[in-house]
Symmetry: C2
């Protein structure tokens, strides 16, 4: 991981390929690396789909090592959805493989030509690029089937579906999982549209003949990894709730807490919650022969995923995540898991962010295009997105644009990006994160559900304003650091509650890289990443006025707690005072 691969798609003929030393970017991984490159190299006022934008794909500091849970791949660029800087990350196999191939990052840059469908193949011998029009507008599933035929099932793929090719602002970038399904997505902010704007359809990574990355201090690394894995296994969330029921273990919990956005954020509880809960989902998966405990990449300890088969026992999709089940389920009043799983499959196949899609369908329902609860209608609507019809283009542009097109106020967005599965009024720490994250509304940017609801890392009353600023600040800092390691964010549960697990993470980094970082250094890294991101956004014209929820969250009370968002603007402006 000492080199950067730059692919300039703006050259005459095929793109140019340049491998350069990591240089000034040495020591950075994941989000720290993507945000640093974007912050330094992309003019903040450029158009996200224009030649000046770059797509940076980077494994984390520990990717490709034997460290448990180190499988996240970061993708960074200027976002077509928010207009600000974006880092979205994904699980699957790609981060590990890319790291073993020795690349700290791939940078796609230059002016995309119309009508190219590049296949980039990278192995230990180098990089090959072809313009393969046969791949044009293939869904991710058909595309990956074709890649399997050509390259076998040991490769990892990073790809876009038709949504990315059509440059929709909700388009995701898919990474293949252990079974070579394109189910793990860098979902948010339209990163897939930026890949599409560069004319790149798929990057095939083959690490045959490459070694697992070796730590500088082997024994210390092994010891730390043992403590690390034990820590993840013993925590009730990472060792119990997540493996047993997946992320959707949250459905009943958040519903019970009255913070489950229902009917396009009109109420905080959904009558159909139990029908679509993680418990119901896992039981159904097991019944249909798919495991309900399963990892998205080979280094996964937590195993929060599963396989969702259809009624005939055939693979339909991976276990839909909580946010997906919420967005297409509670938010749209759809209480049928098969419908939700089909929507998840379509999201993955077209290459779309499931959160943005569910929120946007909710906006379309609010606008009267279809009724809340109309599952068949939601599937038809999603197919319009895949076709790229005018209606599909509205939906594929996300909740903010859809609300503008349909002339309605109630778009649950910040900085143009849809809110995830936690109502910011009933879980106010999440509201602070939504409002202030440089990413737009993003639950992963500072997951205050921990202390607000799960009582992990302490407790802060979700219905009161006290303590939320500090909570969100500390989580945003910690997350920015974790996103740079290549670690799955779910490690946070164990890390927040178990000091020895946190120490083991630091020991992993230190022993691998031969460093002597302390927890203060980790905090400093997180702060520096956030500072880079906020600087980019400031130069793109973002002000504190963008660090606000839509006004209606201050006006409309959400049942059952009947609360509005209570955090004062001047307090939101203190999140980044450190």
């Amino acid at each position: 991981m000492d080199k950067i691969l730059r692919i300039d798609v703006g050259q005459t003929g095929l793109p140019s390929v340049k491998t350069e030393a990591v240089g000034a970017y040495a020591g950075l991984g994941g989000r720290a690396l993507t945000s640093t490159i974007v912050g330094k190299e992309v003019p903040p006022l450029c158009h996200a789909l224009g030649p000046e934008n770059k797509l940076v794909i980077a494994p984390g500091l520990l990717s490709g090592t034997p460290a448990g849970q180190s499988g996240r791949l970061s993708v960074g660029c200027k976002s077509p959805l928010t207009g600000g800087i974006k880092e979205a990350n994904a699980g699957g196999q790609a981060a590990q493989v890319l790291a073993r191939l020795g690349y700290a990052a791939i940078v796609l840059e230059g002016a995309g030509k119309s009508d190219t469908t590049y296949l980039i193949h990278i192995d230990k011998n180098g990089v090959k690029i072809e313009n393969d029009q046969r791949l044009k507008l293939l869904g991710n599933y058909a595309l990956i089937d074709e890649m399997k035929k050509r390259y076998g099932d040991k490769v990892a793929c990073i790809s876009i579906g038709p949504a990315g090719e059509m440059k929709m602002a909700s388009a995701s970038i898919a990474c293949t999982d252990m079974e070579m399904h394109p189910t793990r997505h860098a979902g948010r902010g339209g990163v897939g549209a930026v890949m599409g704007s560069k004319g790149v359809k798929v990057i095939v990574l083959d690490d045959a003949g490459c070694e697992t990355r070796q730590p500088k201090e082997s024994e210390a690394f092994k010891a730390a990894n043992k403590v690390w894995i034990e820590g993840l296994k013993k925590h009730p969330v990472t060792g119990g709730g997540l493996p047993n029921f997946g992320t959707n273990v949250l459905m009943n919990i958040i519903n019970e807490a009255g913070g489950l956005p229902t009917t396009n954020f009109k109420t905080g509880q959904y009558a159909g919650a139990s029908k679509i809960s993680g418990e119901s989902e896992a039981a159904l998966e097991i019944k249909r022969g798919g495991p309900a405990t399963h990892g998205c990449h080979r280094g996964c300890v937590i195993q929060c995923s599963g396989i969702y088969n259809d009624a005939n026992g055939n693979f339909l999709t991976k276990q839909p995540e909580y946010e997906t089940v919420w967005s297409h389920g509670a938010n749209c009043n759809i209480d049928d898991l098969d419908t939700i799983a089909m929507l998840d499959r379509l999201d993955d196949d077209y290459g779309l962010d499931t959160i943005e899609m569910g929120a946007t369908i909710g906006v379309a329902m609010e606008a009267g295009l279809l009724k809340f609860g109309d599952g068949a209608g939601a599937i038809e609507l999603m197919k319009e997105v895949g076709k790229g019809s005018p209606l599909g283009r509205i939906i594929g542009s996300g909740a903010a644009v859809a609300a503008k097109a349909f002339g309605i106020e109630r778009a649950p967005v910040v900085k143009g990006q849809a809110m995830p599965a936690y109502d910011p009024r009933a879980i106010m720490g999440m509201g602070v994160t939504y409002a202030t994250s440089p990413m737009g509304a993003d639950h992963t940017a500072g997951y205050a559900v921990t202390a607000n609801i799960l009582k992990v890392g302490g407790y802060v009353d979700p219905l009161k304003s006290e303590g939320q600023i500090e909570l969100s600040r500390n989580l945003q800092i910690a997350t920015a650091a974790i996103d740079s390691t290549g670690m799955c964010l779910f490690i946070a549960f164990a890390v927040l509650d178990q000091p020895e697990t946190f120490q083991a993470l630091i020991d992993l980094i230190n022993s691998f890289h031969g460093l002597k970082l302390t927890s203060d250094d980790v905090t400093a890294l997180g702060k520096s990443v956030l500072a880079i991101e906020r600087d980019f956004n400031a130069r793109a014209g973002f002000t504190k006025e963008m660090d606000r929820l839509p006004l209606y969250f201050k006006r409309e009370k959400i049942p059952p707690h009947n609360v509005t968002f209570q955090i004062k603007d001047e307090d939101l402006d203190k999140v980044f005072n450190w």
Copy 2:
């Protein structure tokens, strides 16, 4: 004009009506009044279609008086298109009639209900409101025909078409002209959507029994008005070019100058320009029996308009303005006047901004939805807008949203609003105005074509950066003042070139209101209006980074001069340093 009419549509049952003294807003008219009320009463971070926004409709300081050319009506609100403050103004009869009824402003406020179609009737006896569902989704022409049946042809109407009812961000507000045609529009920024969000379809103004407003100093006023009218009649633009050929006299001039945006701002000259020029248009109008010299309201001296009949000699639309002929013509490569006139008719009927629509059709052509030059396709596309189909909603949302939905970079917009008929690279003073006006890209906000091309008020080379900042600054200040008087902006030609005509304007205001203003006071008024508007935008989160043209205007050279936009960012930031 000593009272303000407030209509709160958020009350149970029919809207409440309150007439209050003008109070703290005394002495303000037109844009000064709308921007002051919006700046003071509308929370800048509210949603433009939400209950906190207000629509302010105000005649100018001289509206309803015998002063020549004083027929403009200002409409102000937070804009659904730009997200900033908006003042759009229109000709027609409404300003004069509203002023004679004694209202300094009508303010529509409160939370609009779904599915109301209010008809507000105002005469000397007061205000009557009914919810008349029979008017729902009527085009402006059918609506006004119905109003004529009910109220005769001596009233003036302010109305929205289906686009405003559907809350499209390009929706305009129509004012009737002397012939009771709904042809005079407060076009820009989606003001019609705000009227639609309040559930108001039409305001009928009947000044029967009301007096023309009387000056405080009658003889001085008469004398000033004589000098004033003589000044307008003797200037070659207001006394020659405009009455003879209308605003479209500019087509050949701007084409010759190489600043006519063609093919979605790709070149600065259009091969078909002469076919759609003001000269051709006037000749065709005369041939078909419509006058080519005609006013939009009874107090008009310049008579820049005309009547465009179809091939059978039947009324089709008013003489399409230069910006309309450009936007639907050169910008879309349509060189057929009948097609352009039909598009103008549809714009007026649906209630849409002709500039935004033409620019958006250009974006759709760029995106490949239809071919440049496809006039029949453009008409079909416009009909989609009228129907409110998904495609129509994309187009009706304006050029910025359409470009986002279609995934293309080349949207010629600033602050979300489409540029008018002057390429900012080849006429750089206009580029400064587009970039910096608080209204978004707007030619009327500081019409640098005067000195850049027409050599009115001096000469500043349009292809060089020198002098453009000062030019735009001075014009923006002057315009903000003129927009507050109720005067048509075309007076500027005579006022800039003829000191005695400028003095006559000040004398008109002074003698009418019993004031002793000097030219310094006029400048101060303009500056104060701009300061209010910029303060609103700053509180809405606007920064200097929004005072920029899209990056591609710095990247792509425009033929025939092969220039990019040369004004430096730091110089743009000096426009409002005074």
